[in-house]
């Protein structure tokens, strides 16, 4: 029945409208008390719901925007700065709304979030404005905290080394960088006082750390002076690992670097400087890799490694290797070795035992060469251009990378050296998750394979784009999977490491047999036979040297990275939110929690007019309609009057035949005793509402709090046509029986819910289950089940005397629900 009383008789009559308003026109401040009070209560409930929906909507919108920004790293999109600005600000706005909403929902219980939001937003705006980086004030940065995008702070060399060490886990010495901010005071003041106090403190701390934690005794120091035009002079020195000496060496290095300009600068204020301080590697050989060899290789696309024993400049071995896995050696030139210097394996050529037979030994074994080449190529992939890498090979140890920088193009070699055509197409199709070409030997991988066993530069081929494969992407030159797409987690990882990736290519495992040499071209979505050793070209690809790339990376760090993952962890606090993603995640969890607790706190009922719902089962429930939850009317709402999609589904489950156990509960003595104190607590806490159940609902939403017997449950669900917004939350706690029996019931619930893809957590008798992003029809089905469960478990704890009872109960439930057949496997597992 439609409620038409408020509709004026003839809508065309202009007076009809004013009729509507005259009621509160004179002395509007004293509105009719009854009506306003109702409005206030329902208004509060609606405000709550509206805020909650803001959180859900913003969450969805932010995640979508983040996913799109992340895809920009993959190289297939052309984007511009304006896009980055627009997206970042849109996300910031949505985050602000989310933070406001959670505070509005909780009586401003999370004000800290505002400060975190403001701080993060300031960082994002600073990045966008190209102003000083938020970290720019820090004089000294540990190498492990530096990433490529920090190059403006610490210089290209330190940033690149830190990037390959941090992101790819290539071995490098520990160390720290003296950032631009460390040098700035001295340069602007013309070294008025040396060392400036903040720098002295920071360097001392870092040096002590190196000494104590790394056992470093000597350090290598590289210092750069940069003109306003970007011209660089670089000096390298060594010092003992002691603060005073390091500071002196830093000063000396800078003086030399400045002196290297011709003419030397007078006014230093416009100059910038940075230094890199590394723990000196142990005694051994020193080498250099050039990922594109140049004239020495006849301009063929080969990789060159040179290595000499420490202190023996004349005795340099040279190797040329192919640029793709398995990095076969094409040529090696071995110099005669001095008799008295040890080789990397520790043996000495003039060892009387070997009788100097080792004089002609190669410093590197073919395996060493392949490893070095593979690591260098991984670095090239990551940094997007041919590189020069300096490394140390300590006696008896593993190589360590000491420096990495772009390889200047050799004028003697044509820019476009001819690349041989790859062979026939082995595989075609799928989605490019990260563009680029890669070539290497095919290795089939599975989720649990250890990354350490995966050879650098091989082509990984897998069944699905599972996130577990992420560590392998640090080593693979390319990745092909049969399942998955560009939006998944592994796709994001591939883009992070800049590994060409083709996902969802059917039949990949069969088409690409283990050990075959193959070339992936992600852009063409093909894999061809043979290896072609592609050379990175400064083309349409987005290169790490593009300012937009670094801008994007820096933005994503503040926007997209998720560090707060576990809502139950101690560090799940506002203060620990490091990104917008953290903020919205935190807010979302708290919002759900707050709604779940609402019934307990007695909110949502003050003055609100809740209408009874007439149910065919002995359950007393009221409905607070916050927008389209039921057909209009003042009479008790019948089930068929309910318009709220999730509530209707839930109630249908509650009333499903066979679920409502009419027989009185089986009480034991323990049950009653255990219930005694609870009875007092429960009744005195909120005597007026004990035993009353409330549903707050709108067309697509419901929050149902139920007190059935002595247990307490909350269902919070949003169900619309847009499945990305949909979510179901279920919480169940309490009961009359002793704790062990209640825990058994919790176990029962857990089993059933897990069968419906819920993420379930139990703690004692508390069960919390969450499910997100579900199709609306599936959501209805699930709410129906929750309804059944709610009815079915009413007082079930009292009958649960043993674990077997719990299992039997589960079987009974599934039987009654007509779902028995799908429960067999699970039932076995828990009996």
């Amino acid at each position: 029945m439609r409620k038409r009383s408020r509709l004026p008789r003839d809508p065309r009559d202009p007076r009809a409208l004013s009729d509507l308003y005259e009621k509160d026109a004179p002395g509007g401040s004293n509105a009719p008390p009854g009506e306003d009070k109702d409005a206030g209560g329902a208004g509060k409930a609606r405000a709550l719901f509206s805020k909650f929906r803001t959180i859900l909507d913003s969450n969805t919108a932010i995640l979508t925007a983040i996913a799109q920004m992340e895809r920009m790293l993959g190289g297939e999109y052309i984007f511009d700065r304006a896009y980055l600005e627009k997206s970042a600000r849109e996300i910031a706005d949505l985050t602000h709304r989310t933070v406001y909403a959670i505070n509005a929902m909780t009586g401003d219980a999370h004000l800290d979030l505002y400060d975190r939001y403001a701080a993060l937003n300031a960082e994002v705006e600073d990045i966008l404005a190209g102003r000083r980086d938020p970290g720019a004030g820090i004089p000294v940065l540990p190498l492990r905290d530096i990433r490529l995008e920090d190059r403006v702070l610490v210089g290209d060399h330190a940033a690149a080394l830190a990037e390959i060490a941090g992101r790819l886990e290539l071995p490098a010495p520990d160390g720290f960088a003296v950032a631009e901010a460390g040098w700035a005071p001295s340069l602007t003041s013309g070294f008025a006082s040396w060392p400036p106090r903040p720098l002295e403190q920071a360097v001392s701390g870092a040096v002590v750390d190196l000494y104590v934690r790394r056992g470093a005794r000597r350090v290598l120091i590289a210092t750069e002076a940069v003109t306003p035009e970007g011209e660089v002079r670089r000096t390298e020195t060594e010092a003992d690992c002691e603060a005073g000496q390091v500071l002196a060496a830093l000063r000396q290095g800078m003086d030399q670097a400045l002196a290297a300009f011709d003419p030397p600068p007078g006014d230093l204020a416009a100059f910038r400087g940075h230094s890199l301080v590394l723990a000196a590697p142990p005694e051994g050989a020193l080498g250099q890799i050039r990922t594109l060899a140049g004239p020495e290789a006849g301009c063929k696309p080969l990789l060159a490694i040179h290595i000499r024993l420490n202190g023996s400049p004349g005795a340099t071995d040279s190797y040329l290797a192919s640029r793709n896995h398995p990095y076969l050696l094409r040529e090696s030139r071995i110099a005669p070795k001095p008799l008295n210097k040890p080789l990397p394996d520790g043996r000495i050529p003039a060892d009387p035992v070997s009788r100097a037979w080792l004089r002609g030994s190669a410093v590197l074994t073919p395996d060493d060469c392949a490893w070095l080449a593979g690591a260098a190529m991984a670095a090239e992939r990551l940094l997007g251009e041919p590189l020069v890498l300096d490394f140390a090979h300590p006696y008896g140890g593993k190589p360590l990378f000491l420096g990495v920088r772009p390889l200047p193009a050799d004028p003697a070699c044509p820019a476009d050296s001819d690349v041989p055509e790859a062979g026939e197409i082995l595989l075609q199709g799928g989605t490019a998750a990260c563009l680029g070409a890669a070539s290497g030997m095919v290795i089939h991988v599975r989720e649990n394979d250890a990354a350490a066993d995966f050879p650098y530069g091989a082509l990984a081929v897998a069944r699905s784009a599972s996130p577990q494969l992420a560590p392998i992407l640090k080593r693979a030159s390319g990745v092909v999977t049969e399942l998955g797409d560009a939006a998944g987690h592994l796709a994001a990882v591939a883009r992070e490491y800049r590994v060409p990736a083709l996902f969802g290519a059917r039949g990949a495992l069969a088409a690409l047999p283990q050990g075959a040499l193959a070339t992936l071209d992600a852009e063409a979505r093909t894999v061809r036979r043979g290896g072609i050793a592609p050379v990175p070209h400064q083309g349409w690809e987005l290169s790490p040297s593009d300012p937009e790339f670094l801008l994007l990376r820096r933005l994503l760090q503040r926007i997209a990275s998720l560090t707060l993952t576990d809502p139950d962890a101690k560090d799940f606090t506002a203060d620990n939110c490091r990104s917008f993603h953290d903020l919205i995640h935190f807010a979302h969890e708290k919002a759900v929690e707050s709604l779940a607790n609402m019934r307990r706190a007695g909110k949502g009922k003050d003055g609100a007019k809740a209408r009874p719902i007439a149910l065919p089962v002995p359950l007393c429930m009221r409905l607070l309609d916050i927008g389209g939850a039921a057909a209009a009317g003042d009479a008790p709402a019948r089930i068929e009057d309910i318009r709220s999609r999730p509530l209707a589904a839930f109630l249908a489950g509650v009333c499903a035949p066979g679920m409502w156990d009419q027989a009185p509960a089986r009480f034991g003595m323990g049950d009653v005793i255990s219930a005694m104190d609870k009875t007092f607590a429960a009744l005195s806490a909120n005597p007026a509402h004990a035993g009353e159940n409330l549903a707050i609902a709108a067309r697509s939403y419901c929050n149902i709090s139920l007190r059935l017997g002595y247990h307490f449950s909350v269902v919070d669900a949003y169900l619309s046509e847009n499945s990305s917004k949909n979510a179901v939350y279920f919480r169940f706690v309490g009961g009359m029986a002793p704790i062990a029996a209640r825990a058994r019931r919790a176990q029962f619930l857990r089993n059933v819910l897990a069968g419906y893809d819920f993420k379930v957590e139990t703690q004692g008798d508390l069960v919390v289950a969450r499910l997100k992003m579900i199709e609306p029809a599936r959501g209805e089905e699930i709410l129906h089940i929750l309804g059944r469960l709610t009815a079915f478990t009413r007082q079930r704890d009292t009958g649960l005397l043993s674990d077997a009872d719990a299992a039997a109960l589960e079987t009974l439930f599934l039987e009654k629900s007509g779902l028995a057949d799908c429960s067999d496997a699970k039932g076995d597992a828990h009996v």
Binding site: R4, L17, A25, G28, A31, E35, A39, R46, N103
Partner: protein
């Protein structure tokens, strides 16, 4: 133990301070979110409005309205967080609007079919497709106040439906099948004949006849306001492709003149059949258009009983290079000119000097006149008329000016039909692009209008012509208008909505197509531009201009048009026709509950909750009250918060106590004294920059004071306890500042958002008080208003209270505005003391603009 007690005391103090800061933050964030929701609400409102326009179906409409309810609810809820009382009362108002909306939505059925006939003036600019070219051209003239007869349109859809309902459509296709450009004349004639016969024999459906009759009697009613007796009608075809520049179907379709009301259905059929005349078909096929595609509408107007009539080309089509117009005039009805079967007078006025006319009079032997029984008769004119000019020089001049105006409006030379009644009243019957001689002389180029500005965003479609008027002050809004005006405003001021019906069109420097004013402009069908950038400085006050919302441009109209006062009728004050399609009563009601803005005067008494009658009102009210609430925030919460603040000091004797709301200061800002280098807050920096302007009298009193107030004496001789008055507070975030400055008995408040997104930016300013008598204080207020107007603010002055606002400004111009405020604060310090005569405000403002901050020019 004592120590412990102290510690506890300190802890409690800290807690109090923190809760004070928390309260400020809560307010601030609620305010910023509300500002965002305000934008969102206006966006949705624009969509709702468009949905009404386009006749969206019920589900779409319901969905949009639901969205609008949600966001307006958020606004109301947000307001209640800033002002509990206002929010609560507004909520119950909002609830009632929602209930009324729900009731209307529940009752809404699917719409009845669109009416067959539509009053010409009810058509929106986007509905030209319904009316055909002829009607559309006339409609544009009508809306711009040209003298045109009223009329109604039998829409293209109606004509098509007529053919469909009578089963004629299929028959016509059958008959015309196989007829193409290659068809022989006989074949064509046969096909045309068959079709015409069938149309003429068709029986019109009753619904169609009813619609026709209703519109005819409405038109009769309108007509009788001007003329005696029952009108006869003219029924003209108005095809979609007709009269467009590329396909001029000039004269290819039928026109029925002098039709009595009861003969209208027959005239309709004849006109319809005319679309399939042999000549029309041949023409269509010759132009490469398919024969069977039907796209004709009809225009029905009362007959003008012409004394003389004819055609006007605003550029002589045969000799366009001559720079002359061409007017041909016949006695009686103009049909003789069009058909070319009677001698006519020819006048060729020079476009640049309309008094220079080449005249060739004819011996007018015949004229066409309406026959009493309907139809026309040809007869001889009275003796004296044959050789005399058919029209007087004054009429010719007026006609030529109307022609230039029509050309400027259309942006291209026009071919117009006109008629003059016995009383000498001139009517324009139609206007279409002129087809000029194909063989144009080399070097000839069409006259082109000078572009005043371009690249603006069209907020409401259409073109209009009017005299440019600049509005920088609320007072100017009340001025009487007696000619068509195009308003140029610095900012999109909601208060302008009340005057908008009297403007022909408007252009706003800032603003956006989704703001209040744009919504109102669309509602009223007034062309409007936003984001003109600097329209108010580019256009000269009083110049004749054409605004083209589609091209986002403003052009200069030729000055030869002369005064508009006697030429064009300005839009009415009260009876402004709401330009929109007729809605069903329930849609009408839904619309009334959502789109109209009734709260137009933010400073007037009617700005109250009880006047909120639509969701648009709710949006406006919440927004305005929220800003006001932030102005009040200062007094309520700042007392006793000294320990939270940092004192911003610089080279001037001005101190601002800054409270950081988050991101307003650098992270490691010292305490308690900071310098401007520690301030991140962009608007505060801009304000400070202005305050630092060299030469401002921060410490010296102004010259030649007239001290009549008791308070100022003490201040001026330096004996006052605090020469710079009470502390000034600033609540600062990164892109926001709220300043509460109390300087020597006057207060100044600033609320500004100044971020990268122009649309979200605003600068609000209030200034009131002083130590002198009210006259002098008012004069200072006047001076402040003058200064701020020049700086692009829109101002409102009531007594000694000045309110100024600027919204939608780019970050650069918002910062400029804030710098101006900083400068103004310094300049106007104690200025009231110098406001000795009526001219003082103007002189002081001038001194300010000249950089004479010390008022050297005031020293006599």
């Amino acid at each position: 133990m004592f120590k412990g007690l102290l510690g506890r005391l300190r802890a409690r103090k800290d807690a109090e301070r923190n809760s004070l800061l928390d309260a400020l933050k809560i307010r601030y964030h609620a305010f910023r979110i509300l500002l965002g929701n305000n934008e969102r609400a206006l966006d949705i409102l624009a969509n709702v409005e468009a949905a009404f326009h386009s006749g969206a179906d019920k589900m779409v409409l319901a969905g949009l309205i639901e969205d609008l309810e949600d966001v307006t609810f958020e606004l109301v809820d947000g307001l209640s967080r800033l002002r509990d009382d206002a929010g609560r009362r507004l909520y119950s108002r909002h609830l009632r609007i929602e209930e009324a909306l729900r009731a209307a939505l529940d009752g809404m059925e699917d719409d009845p079919p669109a009416p067959f006939c539509r009053a010409l003036e009810s058509l929106g600019p986007e509905e030209e497709g319904l009316a055909g070219g002829k009607a559309a051209g006339l409609l544009r003239l009508m809306k711009n106040g040209f003298p045109t007869p009223p009329g109604f349109v039998i829409t293209v859809r109606a004509c098509r439906e007529f053919l469909a309902m009578t089963g004629l459509e299929e028959e016509i296709r059958q008959a015309l099948r196989g007829v193409g450009a290659q068809s022989g004349a006989q074949e064509l004639a046969q096909a045309a004949k068959t079709v015409r016969e069938r149309i003429l024999a068709a029986k019109a459906p009753a619904a169609f006849l009813d619609g026709l009759e209703a519109e005819a009697s409405r038109l009769t009613g309108v007509w009788r306001r001007f003329k005696e007796g029952a009108p006869r009608f003219a029924v003209r075809s108005s095809a979609l492709t007709e009269d467009a520049a590329e396909h001029s179907f000039a004269g290819q379709y039928v026109t029925r003149l002098n039709v009595p009301p009861d003969a209208l259905p027959e005239a309709f059929r004849e006109t319809l059949a005319g679309a399939f005349s042999e000549r029309a078909l041949a023409y269509r096929l010759g132009m490469g258009l398919p024969a069977a595609v039907f796209d004709m509408a009809m225009l029905v107007q009362p007959m003008i009983e012409a004394q003389a009539a004819g055609v006007l080309f605003t550029l002589d089509p045969v000799r366009p290079e001559s720079g002359r117009m061409l007017v041909s005039a016949a006695l009686g009805l103009g049909v003789t000119v069009v058909d070319g079967d009677a001698p006519t007078d020819m006048f060729r006025p020079l476009r640049t000097d309309l008094t220079d006319v080449e005249t060739r009079l004819a011996d007018k032997t015949v004229l066409a006149a309406p026959a009493p029984e309907g139809g026309l008769v040809r007869q001889a004119p009275a003796d004296g008329q044959r050789s005399a000019p058919a029209i007087e020089a004054a009429t010719l001049n007026r006609l030529a000016r109307l022609g230039l105006a029509a050309e400027a409006l259309a942006g291209a030379p026009q071919d117009m039909e006109w008629a003059v009644t016995r009383d000498g009243e001139l009517f324009i019957l139609q206007s279409r692009p002129a087809r000029l001689s194909a063989a144009r002389k080399p070097g000839f180029s069409l006259p082109r209008a000078r572009i005043i500005l371009r690249g603006a965003a069209g907020a409401s479609p259409g073109r209009c012509l009017g005299r440019a008027r600049l509005y920088r002050d609320a007072g100017a809004l009340d001025a009487e208008l007696d000619e068509p005006v195009i308003a140029f405003l610095p900012a999109s001021l909601p208060d302008a909505a009340k005057v908008l019906p009297r403007w022909q069109g408007l252009a706003v420097d800032q603003g956006s197509p989704a703001d209040h004013l744009s919504t109102v402009a669309r509602e009223l069908g007034r062309p409007m531009l936003t984001r003109t950038g600097s329209g108010t400085t580019l256009v000269a006050e009083g110049s004749l201009t054409v605004l083209d919302a589609e091209a986002g441009a403003v052009y200069a109209a030729p000055p030869e048009i002369g005064g508009l006062r006697d030429l064009l009728t300005p839009p009415g004050r009260d009876d402004a026709p709401k330009i929109r399609r007729p809605l069903t009563p329930l849609r009408e009601r839904l619309r009334d509950l959502t789109v109209p803005l009734n709260l137009t005067d933010a400073y007037g008494p009617a700005f109250s909750i009880s006047e909120c009658r639509s969701l648009h009102d709710v949006i406006r009210y919440s927004h305005e009250m929220a800003v006001m609430a932030m102005f009040d925030a200062g007094d309520e919460t700042l007392e006793g918060s000294f320990s939270l603040v940092r004192r911003l000091e610089g080279e001037i004797p001005l101190q601002i106590m800054v409270i950081d709301l988050g991101g307003g200061l650098v992270q490691d800002a010292p305490s308690p004294v900071i310098g401007i280098e520690h301030v991140v807050c962009a608007p505060l920096r801009a304000l400070w920059r202005g305050a630092l302007t060299p030469g401002l009298r921060w410490s010296a009193p102004p010259p030649n004071p007239n001290i009549s107030g008791l308070f100022s004496k003490g201040l001026l001789d330096g004996r006052g306890p605090r020469p710079l008055g009470l502390p000034n507070y600033a609540l600062a975030a990164r892109d926001y500042v709220n300043v509460n400055a109390r300087v020597e008995f006057h207060f100044a408040m600033i609320d500004a958002v100044c971020g990268p997104k122009a649309r979200g930016n605003h600068v609000r300013f209030r200034f009131k008080g002083g130590g002198t008598e009210i006259v002098q204080r008012e004069r200072r207020a006047q001076c402040v208003a003058l200064i701020l107007q020049e700086g692009g603010f829109f101002t409102d002055r009531r007594g000694d209270l000045v309110s100024a606002s600027l919204s939608g400004a780019t970050p650069e111009s918002a910062e400029g505005a804030l710098a101006l405020l900083g400068k103004t604060l310094g300049f106007t310090r104690l200025l009231d003391a110098s406001m000795r005569d009526e001219n003082a405000p103007k002189r002081a403002a001038q001194a300010f603009f000249d950089g004479d901050y010390a008022l050297a020019s005031f020293k006599e």
